[in-house]
Amino acid sequence: MSAQERRPEEDGRDFADAMWSIPSSLLAGMAIYGGLGWLLDRWLDMSAFFPIGTVLGLVLAGYLAYRKFSR
């Protein structure tokens, strides 16, 4: 009985967790790998690593969200 009562709460919590943490991890991914790329660009005097890093961060954060919340 108690397991049945707790079930919707757990679902709601997981859902809200995902809704609120995915955007901030996407942002964090872009910030970290975009930032690394930007630093590489400055160091090597290039301009390719910043966009590459941004997209890479986005993909990694998307993968993280997929592994954490898809079940």
Partner: protein, 264 residues
């Protein structure tokens, strides 16, 4: 106190600037920190304390009057904000969450109360204090219930991923939880209130300017449109203000819940 009729420059309509709307002079000359938002924040605190005191100082088993209303709000916070995230720990944090919800709600509603019309949270310092308090509490509770190492390990290393990938993903988790989460927590409330106040001020300025300052046959229609939009957006603002107070308390409850139990 400055009303929404900030002076437009010259003969042409000019939209109110953020500087006119938010950079208010001190109420008492010479006391620089005592501005309108500070006064409103103090009044809101007194109001929330007073209402809760009036409702719960002599609680009755069968609530009536003020107690009935505030109890309804309490139950809303308990069922919608606390229980989904805190479960059986809800009651321990209800004091904090109810206070936060009501305080932020009153702060926000100050934005549409006639003649007051200033949402306190549109100065970022106010939501920042609340968000930083929640942030400190979150880390304290996490370290207390999961251990210093355990808390950061649970945060940065979600189980079930191949080992090498942690090297890439842990920095994302750390940045997302430690910096972006508290930042968005305060900016979400601040930006909503800031933008809402700008919109309301703009539309009421349009109405005031074209109907009272420079009434012309062609401009009158624009002025009426401004007044209508002001009314529509005031209704919309009330909804947003409630929603943002709810979200602020909900996120606080979510962060606390995440610190009490490790995810999954």
């Amino acid at each position: 106190m400055i009303t929404l009729t900030a002076p437009a420059h010259g003969d042409e309509f000019s939209a109110p600037t953020p500087d006119e709307l938010f950079n208010l002079p001190p109420i008492i000359a010479g006391v620089d920190w005592f501005t309108k938002p500070v006064l409103l924040a103090i009044l809101s605190a007194i109001l929330v304390i007073g209402v809760c005191w009036g409702a719960f100082s002599k609680p009755k088993l069968v609530p009536r009057g003020l107690q009935n209303v505030v109890e309804y709000g309490y139950m809303f916070v308990r069922d919608q904000v606390a229980r989904p995230f805190l479960g059986k720990d809800s009651d321990r944090f209800m004091g904090l969450l109810v206070t936060m919800f009501f305080l932020v709600l009153v702060w926000n509603l100050m934005g549409v109360v006639p003649f007051i019309q200033f949402p306190v949270a549109s100065h970022i310092a106010f939501p920042a204090v609340l968000a930083i308090s929640v942030y400190v509490l979150k880390i304290y509770l996490g370290v207390k219930y999961q251990g210093a190492g355990g808390y950061f390990k649970n945060m940065m290393f979600p189980p079930g991923l191949p080992k090498p990938i942690y090297l890439l993903l842990s920095p994302i988790e750390f940045l997302s939880n430690m910096i972006i989460a508290p930042f968005t927590h305060m900016v979400r409330l601040f930006a909503n209130m800031f933008a809402g106040h700008m919109l309301l001020a703009f539309f009421s300025m349009v109405g005031f300017w074209f109907l009272f300052e420079k009434l012309t046959p062609l401009g009158a229609g624009v002025g009426v449109l401004g007044v209508v939009m002001t009314i529509i957006f005031t209704g919309f603002e009330i909804f947003i203000q409630f929603l943002q107070a709810f979200l602020f308390a909900m996120l606080a409850s979510m962060y606390i819940g995440g610190s009490l139990h490790a995810e999954h």
